[in-house]
Amino acid sequence: MSVKKVDIANGVQGYYIENTRFNTTLITYNFYFPLNSQTMAVDALLPFLLTSCSEQFKDYIDLNIALLKLYGADLSCSVSKCGDCFHTKIGISVINDNLAFDNDKPVGRAAELLSGLIFAPKIKNNEFYPEDTAREKRKTIERIVGEINNKKAFAKTRLFEEMFGDDPYGKFIYGRAEEVEEITEDQLFTAWQTLLSTAFVRINVIGKENPNAVFSTAKQCFENINRKNVADISAVLDVIENDDVKDITERMNVTQGKLAMGFTSRLKGGLKTAAALSVFSDIFGGGPYSKLFTNVREKQSLCYYCSASSRRTKGVLTVESGVEEENVEKAIKAILSELQDMKAGKFDDSVIEASKKAITDSLYSYYDNAAAIDIWYSREIGEDISPLKAAEIVMQVGREDIINAAKGIKLHTVYRLLPKEAN
């Protein structure tokens, strides 16, 4: 698998990740710009609106039929936070030209359809259409309600809100339902213009087809856009600090309690430190050999699930657990005691090996999944390292590196979501 880079316009890069094993080609446009609490709800709604219709495909049915005719091409759209950047991804996956009927060229057609959605939306007098906006607002509000109904995800969302306070990283990406209700057609138009003119852009093409057609389509589209003020996305991340541990308990109509604990971790130190953090996080609360799984869940039976995950792009570690109310405090104590043991180096060499094997095994398998390759090459925007290289670095991680990573972990916030008290 080789990676070729092309400059398409100011702050617009093309990445061709050649991979001959797939029958499909995946094309994604990735936009990055600084997180902003004020515009986050609008920024999150915009890509869903863009991928629902366009100047050419006036409504979602026309668009869906066009996708069917492209051999069932899959259109995808997502929003996420990547460090202190907002990340919008719009992509299409389509079968390769050699598998199409009658000399058809679906890859070029898919690239044109995709750029049409992004650069030529359905607008009138510098505004999106009210009926399209209303439909997408309704769908976004459903996503927000869905999040509230999923108590595990909800507890983590609340943890981040409490942990980050005014930092936009803590805000739920779709915003609040009331904010979504108030979004206007012209706000969306402004957000669309800002996206095209100021966001840093990475276009990934993954597959074996020649990417020139995709990149030249993109080049033409960006030619008409003034890209003088491209967002600086290399800015140093804001790391949150705290002296006292924040302690929050909320009650809702839930049967099983949820516990979410947020920790800060040291960010600086490059790739090896990052690899050590991922091995630490896996031994602490990742695989079936992890301390949280084997001790807190299996041996002490304190909870239904208990796992840790780290977000390197923001230097945060979280522990999530499903737990009965009477066991919550015991579980917190047990989790912190396992962390202390990690800091003191109380873990077996066999677990280090198991963890490194699991992490590298999953890194190697990235190459067999176009969507995973795309995520890899759109998440690590600052550092261009391959999954293979990352696996090599993981293999070099030793006991002392893991202990050092553990020592940099500090509890920041404890959030409990517990059942309403019986009347």
Partner: protein, 424 residues
């Protein structure tokens, strides 16, 4: 041992081998790939509750044994199987459905060591009266968890109204009562019947060499006497018990499942009938259909409907699921649309587009080793080959669609609804 090689210039080749003991082995080499995916499974699922072994008398066992066995096989005298796979870095899992139980692993290194673990733990049952007792508690918790799951309930409530005799109507894990009747003796009896190589299959896709893998399997498959097993067939009429069923649970918006029961002769529907069913449902209520637009525009639904042709040994049903404030109105619209299709025919341009998309979907499945293995398992259970769907799509025409939709009659329909709980 007998091996057939099935070739396809564009999508790759695969082999089907039947070992002397009856075990079927499907292998697709994916030389450019880094990872491998393997499944060891048995044609034994929740519906196989009544059966004859080696032509003997028919016996009936409590519901939920297939799923119970799946749980228990992960334990061995030396400990937990997950820990054995942790040493090699592989991912492992298992699942039980209506007609199969499969144990799987995926890895990008140590394939041969992982295959050894898979072959060993599936062929080495270990349970005692005590461990079975402990598992009863764990599975009872799992069953209770599903009792509160609206998506699960709306589906099984539908099946219960649809089927009089067929065990497909019972939850895959069984009931708290049925699993309380399970003991180690029953588990061994079912294991020795259904986990016989002649009733099993191994499916593998990835960067492996067929000859090496076959020789490893032959060496490690236990030499046991061949068992023939015949599951009972259940007589079902076209009639359903009730056309409507409702339950209240914690949901924000009502959830519905509209099903149409289909009866047929023989054990299973053939691949063409199954493929036509999928295409017909897409045309009827997919995200390009006139019905979908109408339901959205009138505000009856906000999100897509999901439609499935649910089928297996002795059962077939067309099932459409969704969310709506007014499920009864949606059901009426769907039934009206079926009649309109039968009367006015199919939009042939849309049919061509849907067939083209189905071809694209079939091609895409060869990009992932897990979807290749899933399709191989289907082939092992229902017969047919990996490339057959792409060929069958070329034969499907308007008449096939109309003939299929004509089976969706009002009398054979059940509407199952989950309504939000009212605040006290």
């Amino acid at each position: 041992m007998k091996t057939d090689l099935i070739k396809n210039g564009l999508l790759g080749d695969y082999s089907v081998t039947t070992l002397d003991n009856g075990l079927s082995v499907y292998i697709m080499e994916k030389p450019g790939f880094d990872s491998c995916y393997a499944a060891f499974g048995t044609k034994y699922g929740s519906i196989n509750t009544k059966f004859c072994r080696n032509g003997g008398e028919e016996i009936e066992v409590p519901a939920g044994i297939a799923h119970f066995l799946e749980h228990k096989l992960f334990e061995s005298e030396e400990g937990d199987t997950f820990q054995r796979f942790a040493k090699t870095g592989a991912y492992c899992n298992a699942y039980t459905s209506f007609d199969r139980t499969c144990y799987i692993f995926s890895c990008s290194s140590n394939f041969s060591a992982n295959l050894d673990i898979l072959l060993d733990f599936v062929q080495t049952p270990y349970f005692t009266a005590e461990t079975v007792k402990k598992e009863q508690g764990i599975i009872a918790q799992e069953i209770k968890m599903y009792e509160d799951n609206p998506g699960w309930r709306v589906f099984f409530n539908l099946l219960r109204q649809m089927y009089e005799n067929h065990p497909v109507k019972i939850d895959i894990a069984g009931t708290v009562e049925s699993i309380s009747e399970i003991d180690d003796k029953l588990l061994f009896e079912c294991y020795n019947t259904f986990y016989n190589p002649a009733n099993m299959f191994i499916c593998i896709a990835g960067n492996i060499k067929t000859a090496e893998v076959l020789s490893q399997i032959e060496k490690n498959i236990k030499k046991v006497e061949r068992v023939t097993v015949k599951s009972a067939s259940f007589c079902e009429s076209k009639m359903v018990k009730n056309n409507f069923v409702e339950q209240s649970l914690e949901v924000a918006k009502p959830l519905f499942c509209l099903g149409f029961k289909d009866v047929f002769s023989g054990e299973r529907l053939d691949l063409k009938s199954r493929t036509v069913a999928g295409i017909a449902l897409e045309l009827l209520c997919g995200d390009c259909s006139a019905l979908y637009r109408r339901l959205q525009d009138s505000g009856l639904i906000d999100n897509e409907l999901s439609a499935e042709h649910f089928q297996g040994e002795g059962y077939s049903a067309f099932i459409i699921e969704g969310e709506s404030e007014n499920p009864k109105a949606v059901a009426e619209e769907i039934k009206k649309e079926i009649k309109s299709f039968i009367k006015n025919g199919v939009d042939t341009e849309l049919l061509d587009a849907v067939l083209k998309a189905a071809y694209g979907d079939a091609v895409k499945r060869f990009d992932n080793t897990d979807s290749i293995v899933t399709d191989m398992i289907d082939c092992a259970i229902s017969s047919g080959g990996l490339f057959d769907t792409a060929h069958i799509l070329k034969e499907i025409n308007e008449q096939d669609i109309i003939a299929c939709l004509s089976k969706l009659t009002d009398e054979a329909s059940v509407l199952s609804v989950i309504t939000p709980r009212k605040e006290k």
